[in-house]
């Protein structure tokens, strides 16, 4: 019998119900994500602690309001259920984990080969499934950005885009820090934790282009490498994976240290493209909108299954509406927030 997206979806539904039954119930969480509310049901108690800390700043009281998406999440090991099996051949995966033949108008299907996570979304029923073999084997970077693929698909339906960027600002407006990894996005955002600017995200945030560019916070996590740990020693106490391997980054949930700095979002006033200069002073210079888009779009698109023309168009709309600047990062990182504030003040000046 040929397995179709419909029949695989049905099989997944039954396996989740079996997991709930064997685990003795669900752990339920509600979150405000973008302009919508997402409800998550975890089968049993093992998976939630691995996936919820990064979203804690967006948590809502249960049953507070109508939800727009339900995610059913489970792992096989802790619920003593048989693992799901792929219903497609090995050559069905594309470079970003999407499964050929199982991405239709209604369904989205992808398997993250690094994290070992299956993501399945039914856009018609507004239901999603998240499955892993074992909660304890979920890697730190998945804990830092849980449900990323599902939320990417779902938010696209809401005209929002998960973006590889950091964001700092105030309720009246802020900046999106964009560029590939290692260019200084995290350093810039973390430097703002002790200043007047609020923090909306470090690695992935949600953006929309209409009616005006706006960013929404998504995760409160930050992944720290060696130089970050030296520059921000105050974060050491909150490292969630102290027993990590030498090739893993330290994961910190900033909501535990700086809950007052977490911000749900703000209007976007500028794109900033950080560059490490080695000079002491941090400076800012205007760059073209295309240079801003080139820093923003590729590193987002190539990390998200199914991201393509629509994502590019949305990010191009943002780049067309707000100015872009190079943020030439100095070695005195305490001055970075001042430089960002100066950009915002300059944009406020008629």
């Amino acid at each position: 019998m040929v397995t179709t997206p419909d029949s695989f979806y049905l099989k997944t539904t039954h396996r989740f119900q079996e997991a709930v039954s064997r685990a003795g119930g669900v752990v339920e969480r509600w979150y405000r994500i973008g302009n919508g509310v997402v409800r998550v049901h975890f089968a049993g108690v093992s998976l939630a602690p691995r996936l919820t800390p990064a979203l804690e700043h967006l948590r809502l009281p249960q049953d507070a309001q109508a939800f727009s998406l339900t995610i059913y999440a489970w792992d096989s090991a802790s619920t003593s259920t048989a693992p799901l099996s792929p219903a497609w051949p090995l050559d069905a995966y594309n470079a970003r984990g999407e499964v050929a033949g199982f991405n239709t108008h209604r369904f989205r299907t992808a398997f993250d080969m690094g994290a070992g996570v299956l993501s399945l979304l039914d856009t018609q029923e507004r239901v999603a499934f998240y499955w892993a073999q074992a909660a304890q084997e979920i890697p730190y970077y998945e804990s830092g950005a849980p449900f990323r693929t599902l939320l990417h698909w779902w938010m696209k339906e809401q005209h929002c885009q998960i973006t590889h960027a950091a964001a700092v600002g105030a309720e009246t407006g802020g900046v999106l820090l964009v560029g590939k990894g290692g260019m200084g996005k995290s350093t810039s955002a973390l430097a703002c934790l002790t200043g007047p600017l609020a923090y909306a995200g470090d690695d992935y945030v949600l953006v929309t282009a209409t009616p005006r560019p706006r960013v929404f916070s998504l995760y409160n996590s930050v992944k720290l490498e060696g130089d970050h740990l030296q520059r921000f020693p105050e974060l050491h106490a909150a490292i969630s994976n102290p027993d990590r391997r030498s090739d893993e980054k330290a994961l910190v949930f900033l909501n535990t240290l700086y809950p007052h700095k977490m911000c749900a979002g703000f209007p976007l006033r500028a794109l900033l493209v950080p560059r490490v200069t080695g000079r002491r002073e941090t400076t800012v210079q205007r760059i073209s909108a295309a240079a801003g888009l080139a820093a923003l779009a590729p590193s987002t698109i190539f990390q998200l299954p199914g991201a393509g023309r629509e994502a590019f168009t949305l990010m191009a709309q943002i780049a067309q509406q707000i100015p872009a600047f190079a943020l030439n990062l100095g070695t005195d990182i305490q001055r970075i927030p001042e430089a960002i504030l100066a950009v915002l003040q300059r944009l406020d000046t008629p």
């Binding site: 090995l90 995966y93 470079a95 970077y141 073209s288 240079a291 393509g308 023309r309």
Partner: protein, 153 residues
């Protein structure tokens, strides 16, 4: 490449936009992305509007101050480079109507800026985000595992 030929953007996996006279192009298949400005952006715009290479050359001659042979060679050269990068293919479709195109920005001779041969800037730093040869091992249930930790960009 013949001047009578027209080019098409090669399929849905080449996404592109022109913002403030600069072009950003992304190849979703291989992770490469590109930028063009100046005359290069004008050539790209002409391609996307269905102009032949001769028509694109004519547009550039009415906009820039430059030797016709130099401009023609630059158009041919960039077209060949775009084709080699698999961003465009030679079109078999009939020509578009001039009304579907952006009117050429004709400048009087004394106001034309100097022509500079276009440069296609090519960036390959996103390729490591794509698992172009992803499957390393398959577990008992049949799920593949990547060679590297793909999610930690």
């Amino acid at each position: 490449m013949e001047l009578t030929q027209r080019l098409n953007v090669k399929g849905a996996n080449i996404v592109h936009d022109i913002i403030d006279g600069e072009v950003v192009i992304i190849n979703l298949d291989n992770g490469n992305y590109y930028s063009l400005d100046g005359a290069g952006a004008d050539i790209w715009q002409g391609i996307t509007e269905g102009c032949s290479l001769r028509e694109i050359t004519g547009r550039l001659l009415s906009h820039y101050a430059g030797d016709p042979q130099t401009i023609e060679a630059a158009v041919r050269g960039l077209a060949a480079e775009l084709e080699m990068e698999a961003l465009v293919v030679v079109s078999e479709a009939p020509s578009t109507l001039p009304s579907q195109r952006t009117p050429p920005d004709v400048k009087t001779a004394e106001r034309r800026p100097a022509f500079h041969a276009p440069t296609l800037s090519r960036y390959v730093d996103m390729q490591d985000l794509l698992l172009l040869d992803p499957i390393h091992d398959v577990d008992e249930a049949g799920w593949p595992h990547a060679k590297s930790e793909s999610g930690d960009a």
